[in-house]
């Protein structure tokens, strides 16, 4: 009880609350704007966390992540264009409800179910990650190496349309992660004579180039002066108790599915919202209402994508394995502050971890309150043409990159990365695989080398404990499931196009 009081005192500081407020507003605006999205918002705010205490910076990114999940539904409902991939399923019922009934009512269903899903995800984070981290204390270097491989397998094989290109993306991310001075021997690796690369590829330049600058080129090619017409008739948000009860079942199912799939690396909110929508529509008492403006059809995907945000933090905090691009960027904030997520962080940085636990719930409350107050304002942001957005975001990108280290080299690097990834994205390479592999590279390599040093070069060490054997079996199962899934997809839907979850 004493610990709880101290944790809450650490959490409720002015800096933390202002950071949550800023993150929520930025997340909602970027989530609402089609083409920008949560990942870009988190990437752009990453340099700001340099100047902040670790908890405040991480809470700001978490608030952005949470609010972006709801923000995506604003454009999905008002424009019929999802602001984020996680809001794609919301369009099916959200837009018809806005057109036929009331846009404010549709937004209210989205906000309430997102908030309930967010709280549920936060509770899962609190109650699952502690026992998982305790269990993970039994792991040694071989197990950590295998865990990293599982994370990569899940992301590389489950995301993206083209599995080979996803695997190439994973390798590219790992290669980028090995650039710089080798921490075990002090040897320079692939720095091409550039002293700026001795500390590795600057995370901020890498992220902003890959996600933001490349996305700006995509926005330009989609049209610069397209002006969306939003139905902004009645945007006042609010639901009666009876209406909230009406979405209770779908919100519960959505939250359970979202938190469950969020825990599994590589699946995330993009897939979970469709899964929740399918389950709720098939088990509903009124299936005929789906697709025509059903409240349940809004609540299921929205609760699911916010619950998946909390779920995705479980393997990240307990094992150090990020499951999505946004979480990988948040891991970047940890690394920049010299903190390595994983089971040891629960003892080494106890205040930070519990601050994140309770802070995650606070970010959800902030999302609800700001959503109630400011949704009509965010809806007006939707009419800003891409010409203004591209110019402004480009300048913010360049400022953010320079502010991170004060090096012009990073600006040139980010621009080059932006151009390269614009082409790679068009060729359907998976950017989320690249970034997750990049942040996992040191964990995988160091534990691989430590394992082989311990065993004098014998690979038997990866089969030396029950845990490592179980993890090897999981790797085999992940590969088998991916091959089976791919064969099944080709047999049933030869033209189906899975998306690069969490990125576009």
């Amino acid at each position: 009880m004493e610990n709880l009081a101290q944790d809450l005192l650490n959490l409720f500081t002015l800096t933390n609350m202002l950071c949550i407020l800023l993150g929520t507003v930025v997340g909602m605006v970027f989530g609402a704007l089609p083409g920008l999205g949560t990942v870009i918002a988190v990437a752009l705010l990453l340099p700001v966390t340099f100047t902040l205490p670790p908890l405040a910076g991480i809470l700001m990114l978490l608030a952005t992540y949470q609010a972006g999940e709801y923000g995506g539904s604003i454009s999905a409902i008002l424009l019929g264009v999802p602001g984020t991939p996680q809001a794609a399923a919301t369009v099916i019922d959200g837009h018809p409800m806005a057109a036929n009934d009331s846009p404010g009512k549709a937004l209210s269903y989205s906000l309430v179910s997102s908030s309930i899903g967010g709280i549920f995800g936060g509770l899962v984070l609190i109650f699952v990650s502690v026992p998982l981290a305790r269990f993970a204390l039994n792991f040694g270097s071989p197990e950590y190496f295998l865990l990293g491989v599982i994370g990569l397998m899940a992301v590389g094989l489950l995301s993206g349309r083209d599995k080979i290109k996803s695997m190439i993306s994973v390798v590219l991310g790992l290669m980028a992660g090995t650039v710089g001075v080798d921490t075990l021997t002090g040897v320079n690796r692939a720095t091409f004579g550039q002293p700026e690369l001795m500390d590795g590829v600057n995370l901020v330049a890498f992220l902003v180039g890959m996600f933001a600058i490349s996305e700006l080129f995509i926005m330009i090619s989609k049209g610069l002066n397209v002006r969306y017409e939003a139905d902004r008739g009645t945007l006042k948000t609010g639901l009666t108790w009876k209406e909230i009860k009406g979405i209770g079942r779908s919100t519960t199912i959505g939250s359970l599915i979202g938190a469950g799939t969020g825990i599994l690396p590589g699946i995330g909110g993009g897939a979970s919202c469709w899964f929740a929508y399918a389950v709720v529509s098939k088990t509903s008492k009124t299936p005929e209402a789906f697709g025509k403006g059903s409240a349940e059809g809004i609540a299921a995907p929205e609760s699911s994508n916010n619950a998946s945000a909390g779920g995705a933090l479980v393997p990240f905090l307990a094992l150090g394995i990020p499951g999505s691009a946004a979480v990988a960027i948040i891991m970047g904030a940890f690394i920049m502050h010299g903190i390595q997520p994983g089971p040891n962080v629960f003892t080494a940085e106890r205040d930070l971890v519990y601050g994140i636990f309770y802070g995650f719930i606070v970010t959800t409350v902030a999302m609800y309150l700001i959503g109630r107050l400011l949704t009509p304002m965010f809806a007006r942001v939707l009419v800003i043409p891409n010409s203004f957005l591209v110019a402004t975001v480009l300048v913010l990108c360049l400022i953010g990159i320079y502010a991170s280290k004060g090096a012009f080299f990073d600006l040139w690097l980010a621009l080059g990365i932006g151009v390269a990834f614009y082409i790679l994205k068009r060729l359907e390479y998976s950017v989320s695989s690249v970034i997750i592999a990049y942040v996992l590279a040191p964990i995988i390599e160091e534990n691989f080398r430590r394992s082989l040093t311990l065993s004098n070069g014998s690979y038997d060490i990866f089969f030396s404990s029950v845990y490592s054997i179980a993890l090897v079996l999981m790797v085999v199962a992940a590969v088998g499931a991916a091959i089976y899934g791919e064969l099944n997809r080709r047999r049933n839907q030869p033209d189906a196009e899975p998306t690069d979850y969490g990125v576009k």
Binding site: T51, I164, K165, M167, I168, V171, L172, L174, M175, T178, D182, L184, T185, G186, V187, N188, R189, A190, T191, F192, L216, F217, I220, S221, K222, G223, L224, N225, S387, F388, V390, A391, T392, L394, V395, L398, I399, Y402, A403, F408, L411, W412, L415, V419, Y422, I423, L424, R426, L427, E445, F448, R449, L452, T453, S455, N456, G457
Partner: protein, 155 residues
């Protein structure tokens, strides 16, 4: 250029990049003792990655060569390609000017003004340049107030 050509070109570039990476890696690590007792030194993992990259790119090349679908043989089209090139050129000019001459806020103002004028040129040069100047003054002022005054970050 067709998608097939672009795909092949990208695979070849990735192979070349991978080889360049591994050559540079082995050269820079050559002065060090890079094989520990276990045989796993600092070049072991990156070299293995290069091998996997080259292998996967060759698979992509073969698969792409055999793919004769209409999507793969279609021409690559990029809407607003001129605007993308203009944006890239202006970003390069902005960074170079900032690096050589300094004057960050002046450079920001010029970049925003030129970008917005070009982006909105369909509304007429007078209209677009007027809107561009007004927007740039406002945005540059906002950035100066935020970074220069409140956060006290100097560029």
């Amino acid at each position: 250029m067709t998608w097939k050509h672009l795909n092949s070109l990208m695979s070849v570039l990735l192979i070349m990049g991978g080889i360049g990476y591994t050559l540079n890696l082995n050269h820079s690590a050559s002065q060090a003792i890079f094989f520990s007792g276990s045989g796993v030194g600092p070049t072991y993992f990156p070299n293995a990655l290069t091998g996997i990259l080259v292998l996967l790119c060759i698979v992509t090349l073969i698969r792409n060569f055999r793919d004769k679908s209409p999507e793969n043989t279609a021409m690559v089209t990029t809407e607003n390609f001129g605007y993308i090139l203009a944006t890239l050129a202006l970003a390069i000019a902005f960074i170079a000017s900032w690096q050589v001459f300094g004057y960050f806020y002046l450079n920001v103002f010029v970049l925003l003004t030129v970008l917005l004028t070009i982006y909105r040129i369909e509304f007429g040069i007078r209209n677009s340049s007027l809107v561009a100047v007004v927007t740039s003054v406002f945005l540059t002022g906002f950035l100066f107030a935020l970074f220069g005054k409140i956060l006290e970050i100097s560029f």
